[in-house]
Amino acid sequence: MLRGALAAAVTPLREDGAALDEEAFGPYLEFLATAGLDGILALGTTGEGILLSAAERRRAAELFLAGPLPAIAHCGAQTTAETAALAEHAAGAGAAGVAVISPPYYALDDESLLAHLATAARACTPTPFYVYEFQARSGYAVPLPVLERLRGLAPNLAGLKVSDKPFEAVEPYLLEGLDVFVGAEDLVLAGLERGSAGAVSGLASVFPERVVALVRDRAGHVSELRRALDRYPFQAAAKFVLGRRGVPVREDVRLPLRRLNDEEKRELDAWLESL
């Protein structure tokens, strides 16, 4: 049962982002594990999951699951059929959990959203299922009545990853009997005080030790780190900094995301020097 500090892992890519960099998964996952993380969320927003083909997502999930940390596989896709197929695969491959975001683009009504989530949860049962709530990315929030009804339909519903801001948007999701992981690093401590299960942090994909300290010791300042990286396309900045930290992850991201330009890299290098 996952708790604590989880990294929303980046997905190592090569060939200008066109292919998985399979050899980089092992060392990257070792780097995350050595920092003391409790687990990872694979193929989420930081992990470019939505940009990969279904076959790549299956393969990447297997590579993440071969690592030393328990992994939740994000399986949210545009259609219910693809989401369910990915969820079933991840469960079969030994995922510690499956997470699914509300499909973006069409604002689903309660009925459609409930059916989508219930089908995905069913596809991976009995593996724990997590709803990935991120209104800014999906375009609409998961209504609480949908969650309540989902509990009745999906006994493997274990909790949520909530990446909303500010805390007022997170609070309603801190439901008794569900494990809630907070996404926004600024809100992790407030979440823990209110009984959240921990953090699933994009920043932890680059600075795992900082987020581990934040969750375990309730210590340290991570907001400035996050803000510094947020000045750039996040996935590219994360991969660039990982490279600078000696982790063999390339700068490649999947189009239409872009790499950092030289000017941005110089700025980040200067910032890293100042840390």
Binding site: M1, P126, P128, R151, L153, P155, N156, G177
Partner: protein
């Protein structure tokens, strides 16, 4: 204070660990080779009944129901258990059990089965109903117990073999895998795996939320609702004594026919999915509870009704381990009973 390691993070192990911590144990580790609620707990029907055939078992169930009632919705749905008899012999047996249960204070009553909408009753000679029985989702309840245990300071170790941990006290709660760990401690636990299966129907739009667990006394066929589907189960024609968890699809048609016969809203139902899991059977279908060697306790052999008894068992065993006066008499459940001829077999295995 002693370091207590509970092996097995299913419904039983989670309950033992939670109750140990809530009774003041400071150093409790809940370890599982796999994950929390990952084994038989994740496969179980989730029925919670007090209608058993022996007094000891009824008492365990009664004490457990109180815990489930406190958990409440959405973890526990108190929809009741309805037993139907279609033969004179079956009816006589129901009546006999009802008398025993009533003596122990379980509110089991005769019911006109026709009062349950959609239930076919022209072949039913009589029915008994216990309104305080119900259904729950075992993994959800187990995760909740682990959450509470964590808050009380229990350390949860997934992917960890308990025997690799240092322990002053070891509790074996590994379901069908308990005999393996017992043997490592030099104790022969007569627990063996029995493969059983559950079937799930297609979505049935008209299911009432209040549908009780319905059981046919003679055949053992039973079903409950979960969300917008029904779950069905019945004893296999030939018991499958095996660790192999295999679904026997040749039984689907028969089970579906029984369901359609009994419950009109399922007329259009299909079997959409089946899964198999393991019962941890003992020779008399009662669990083994208590100390089995110096510093080694057993909580296993629940024979298919462990989840529903897990609250009371967890509490009573925790009390025993901590040297407190037990809230329930675990005397009938000692391992030593198998050394003698005197038994008290539970006859109502579903």
């Amino acid at each position: 204070m002693a370091r207590i390691v509970v092996a097995g993070a299913g419904a039983i192990g989670a309950s033992v660990a939670y109750h140990l911590a809530s009774l003041g144990a400071r150093e409790v580790v809940l370890a599982d080779r796999g994950r929390v609620a990952g084994g038989a707990t994740s496969k179980a029907m989730g029925g919670v009944r007090q209608q058993f055939s022996t007094a000891a078992e009824v008492r365990l169930a009664q004490a457990s129901i109180r815990f489930f009632e406190e958990l409440g919705e959405p973890l526990f749905h108190q929809v009741g258990y309805l037993f139907l008899a279609t033969t004179e012999a079956g009816l006589a047996e129901l009546e006999e059990r009802r008398a025993l249960q009533a003596d122990l204070g379980v509110a089991v009553e005769r019911l006109d089965a026709g009062s349950v909408d959609g239930l076919r009753t022209d072949d039913v000679l009589g029915a008994v109903f216990c309104a305080t029985d119900g259904v729950a989702d075992p993994p959800a309840v187990t995760r909740e117990l682990v959450r509470r245990a964590l808050k009380l300071g229990v350390e949860v170790r997934e992917g960890t073999a308990a025997e690799a941990l240092e322990a002053d006290v070891l509790v074996i709660a590994c379901g069908p895998w308990s005999a393996e760990l017992g043997a490592k401690r030099g104790v022969d636990l007569p627990v063996r795996p029995l493969c059983r299966q559950l079937l799930e129907t297609s979505v049935l739009p008209q299911l009432p939320e209040s549908l009780p667990m319905v059981l046919e006394a003679e055949s053992g066929f039973h079903f409950r609702s979960r969300g917008d589907r029904l779950l069905l189960a019945m004893v296999d024609p030939e018991p499958r004594w095996s660790f192999e968890e295999e679904v026997d699809e040749t039984l689907f048609d028969d089970r579906l026919e029984r369901l359609r016969h009994r419950y009109a809203p399922a007329a259009e139902a299909a079997i959409e999915r089946g899964w198999a899991g393991l019962y941890d059977m003992t020779p008399d279908a009662h669990p083994i509870l208590g100390e089995i060697a110096n510093g080694v306790y057993a909580a296993c052999g629940f024979s298919g009704h462990g989840f529903m008894q897990s609250p009371a068992v967890g509490r009573a065993l925790a009390e025993e381990i901590l040297g407190l006066s037990p809230s329930l008499d675990l005397g009938p459940y000692r391992l030593q009973r198998f050394a003698s001829e005197a038994g008290f077999a539970e006859t109502l295995i579903l």
